[in-house]
């Protein structure tokens, strides 16, 4: 147990914080697997908790009669969360070491809050799936591991937690490792890099400091591993996509004829002079200039929000897309997709929703519900009548207008969409576009 008296803050010299960009990590795992405690431990051991926040945690822990520091108090920011001792919604927690700075999305373990887990995981560059060593792989572990695969998160850490409660048993750890490796062998996403770490978040074993209780484990601690991960977005290695968010026409004397297309570049680089296709019109042109604020640049990389002008006077508006010639996405009014359902009202065939694909909107009708996918990788239930909250299934959609899409496994940024319920305006599902893509007939 972490006794409060052992906390002598004045003796610590805080690790230097840096600001080299943040590595985004999502946590996952079932209720009470210790996600919030693990994050608290990371914050504490990297001296990332400021004195005033630490004092607040000490005081609250004492009030509640704990003889240890309840680190989940650092992240469970809502009253209802602290009352129930659970995490309801994603909290974004920051900490840094000399080498790297991190944002951790502390996501809920409860099945009813899976949508919030997806929210946290969708923007993550790495994921930590916690497993309680006493309970092993449980339903939520399957689900979260499956969602990590669906999202194609490349770096996944399997943190076998609460090793202190199983006498630091290597055997228990190996059983869990074997089970996850078996699941991974059945996943179609083969580029995933799995790292297994046995730890105790409460006692600090293998989180920041090497555990003396598990000499049989020779690998890295969790923090050592996280510090080594690449911050480069692994999705930025596909064909370039530039969805136009808005058209900039200043209509002032100095920029009288300026007509710039504002958006963010995904998947690659653009250079002045590049031959481009404007979609969906399929008009060809070349890049005349690339603007960022008050300067012009010759080249812009993936991830930058820029304004582009073209050499030809073509008609471009919001939702249109600039791509390199011969790298066009599919123009289609029909989609096959895997969808994760996030609404209490189930998805049913022939229902209509709004679809948002990047910055493009349309109406969508569910034409088929093919199957519900079992998240333990044991197969599918064919032809279900509906898809309920937190279920994942394969569907087909018909769209009210052509969209410019890639399969998610080819291009992450251009292969996902959300569905919005037109009655409530709520986001009710997130979809991942599957091959084969069916181009619209004619033009």
């Amino acid at each position: 147990m972490i006794k409060t008296k052992t906390h002598i803050k004045s003796n610590f010299s805080p690790l230097k914080k840096n600001n080299l960009g943040h590595l985004k990590i999502a946590t996952a795992g079932s209720v009470d697997d210790g996600k919030s405690t693990l994050i608290g431990r990371l914050l504490y051991d990297t001296k990332s908790l400021t004195d005033d926040k630490l004092e607040a945690i000490e005081e609250k822990s004492r009030q509640r009669g704990f003889d240890y520091l309840d680190f989940s108090l650092a992240t469970d920011g809502l009253v209802a969360e602290r009352e129930q001792g659970i995490t309801i919604d994603v909290a974004h927690i920051y900490f840094s070491t000399r080498k790297k700075s991190f944002i951790i999305a502390d996501t809920p373990g409860h099945i009813e809050y899976t949508r919030n887990m997806v929210t946290g995981a969708s923007t993550a560059q790495a994921s930590i799936v916690l497993i309680d060593a006493r309970n092993g792989v449980v339903e939520q572990t399957y689900r979260h591991f499956f969602i990590n695969n669906l999202l194609r998160i490349k770096n996944v850490v399997i943190a076998v937690n609460k090793m202190d409660l199983v006498d630091f048993s290597e055997e228990k750890y190996k059983i869990i490792k074997g089970e996850i490796e078996y699941l991974a062998s059945k996943s179609e996403y083969k580029d995933q890099q799995l790292t297994f770490i046995p730890l105790s978040a409460l006692q600090g074993d293998n989180v920041v400091s090497v555990s003396e209780n598990m000499p049989w484990y020779q690998g890295e601690t969790l923090l050592q591993h996280l510090e080594k991960l690449d911050t480069e977005d692994i999705s930025d290695d596909s064909q370039v996509r530039f969805p136009v968010q808005t058209v900039i026409r200043p209509k002032i004397a100095t920029y009288h004829d300026f007509r710039g297309y504002a958006g963010k570049i995904y998947g690659g680089d653009f250079e002045v002079g590049d031959k481009v296709t404007v979609l969906p019109s399929l008009t060809k042109s070349t890049i005349k200039s690339i603007h960022f604020f008050d300067k012009e640049y010759a080249r812009a990389k993936s991830g930058s929000s820029v304004t582009i002008t073209l050499n030809d006077n073509v008609n471009v508006s919001r939702g249109d897309m600039l791509v390199k010639v011969d790298e066009e996405p599919t123009i289609t009014k029909q989609l096959d997709a895997t969808i994760c359902w996030m609404d209490s009202a189930p998805l049913q065939v022939s229902q209509k929703y709004y679809i948002k694909h990047g910055v493009n909107d349309a109406q969508a009708k569910i034409t088929q519900l093919n199957s519900i996918i079992k998240t333990d990788f044991s197969g599918k239930t064919e032809n279900p009548s509906e898809l309920a909250l937190n279920q994942i299934g394969d569907i087909q959609l018909k769209l009210s207008k052509p969209m410019l899409v890639d399969a998610y496994n080819q291009n992450k940024s251009n292969g996902a969409f959300i569905l919005i319920n037109p009655k409530t305006n709520n986001t009710v599902g997130v979809g991942f576009i599957n091959p084969p893509l069916i181009p619209r007939r004619g033009n």
């Binding site: 080249r299 812009a300 930058s304 948002k356």
Partner: protein
């Protein structure tokens, strides 16, 4: 022809992307401007998002009447330079008309009264999106906030039932009467903001830098004695100290910190090595463990 490649700043590009989504998805956005470093940073990002066009929405300041004079001077100058429209709504007006009751006593503050004035202004102008400079690293309830955060007619935040926000797809669909609070620098830390201000050479109000000020101590915090706004007992002794402010909220709830950081480079260094959080000097958060969450539920920004 310029041969340079743009250096990608992921946080900056994300914020610019969010600004452009706001303008594309909403009819009447407004940028809530306090004169603090976060809203000043927002203004720079908005400029970048739409250049060479002007910022396509007004700024709005909810003035508690207890602002640091330096902040107000700075605000008026900035607005003049940018040529944008500034809307000012005063908490004082609501106090005078009896709509809200001013707190009294030792810890009285007008901070909470801002909410009512803000909600009135949203209704008066029909704003459907209010852009603010809140960040997730500031406070644990803010750590839970979405980038597009839907509020109902009463400005209430339904914290247990937020919309999923996946990838960078932002769902701005709302019913009549609802509005969305938008937080473009959600993912920035205090250090990110300061580093950006330094990199961009952005001007900020002088009270952010160390200066000599008459102050008194209370509950371990340092309060300004120069202005009549903060209630002070006769026993509380006034001493001149070298201080600066880390946030520039309402004077009645914003304490100073001892500091020698007289310029931006020193401020960045100080923040980097700090062991007290930014809001550690904000008495409004210390009222209870859930102070921020409660204020947000009621429509606080």
């Amino acid at each position: 022809m310029n041969q340079r490649t743009i250096q990608v700043d992921a946080l900056e590009s994300e914020a610019i992307y969010i600004f452009r989504e706001v303008v594309a998805q909403f009819e009447k956005p407004v940028l809530l401007f306090s004169g603090g470093k976060d809203s000043i940073t927002l203004v720079r990002l908005a400029q970048k998002a739409f250049f060479p066009a002007k910022i396509p929405f007004p700024l709005m300041h909810i003035d508690t009447g207890h602002n640091f004079p330096e902040t107000i001077k700075f605000r008026d100058q900035l607005v003049k330079e940018l040529g944008v429209n500034l809307i000012i709504r005063n908490v004082q007006d609501n106090i005078d008309s009896g709509r809200v009751k001013e707190e009294t006593g030792r810890y009285s503050s007008r901070n909470i009264l801002q909410t009512e004035t803000l909600l009135d202004a949203i209704e008066e102008f029909g704003f459907d999106a209010c852009i603010g400079g809140a960040r997730r690293d500031e406070e644990k309830a803010r750590a839970k906030e979405r980038i597009f955060s839907v509020r109902d007619d009463f400005g209430q935040w339904d914290e247990k039932n937020q919309r999923p926000e996946v990838f960078d797809m932002l769902n701005g669909r709302i019913d009549l009467g609802q509005n969305v609070r938008v937080f473009p620098i959600s993912n920035w830390t205090e250090l990110d903001v300061w580093s950006y201000i330094k990199k961009e050479d952005i001007e900020i109000p002088s009270i952010y830098f160390a200066h000599k000020r008459n102050t008194f101590l209370r509950d371990g915090l340092i309060w300004s004695a120069d202005d009549a706004v903060v209630f002070r007992d006769k026993e509380e002794k006034v001493v001149e100290r070298m201080v600066r402010f880390r946030t520039v909220g309402d004077m009645s709830c914003t304490a100073a910190v001892l500091s020698d950081a007289i310029d931006i480079t020193k401020v960045v260094e100080e923040i980097r090595d700090s062991s007290i959080s930014e809001r550690g000097a904000r008495i409004d958060d210390k009222r209870s463990e859930a102070a921020m969450e409660k204020r947000k539920q009621q429509g606080y920004f």
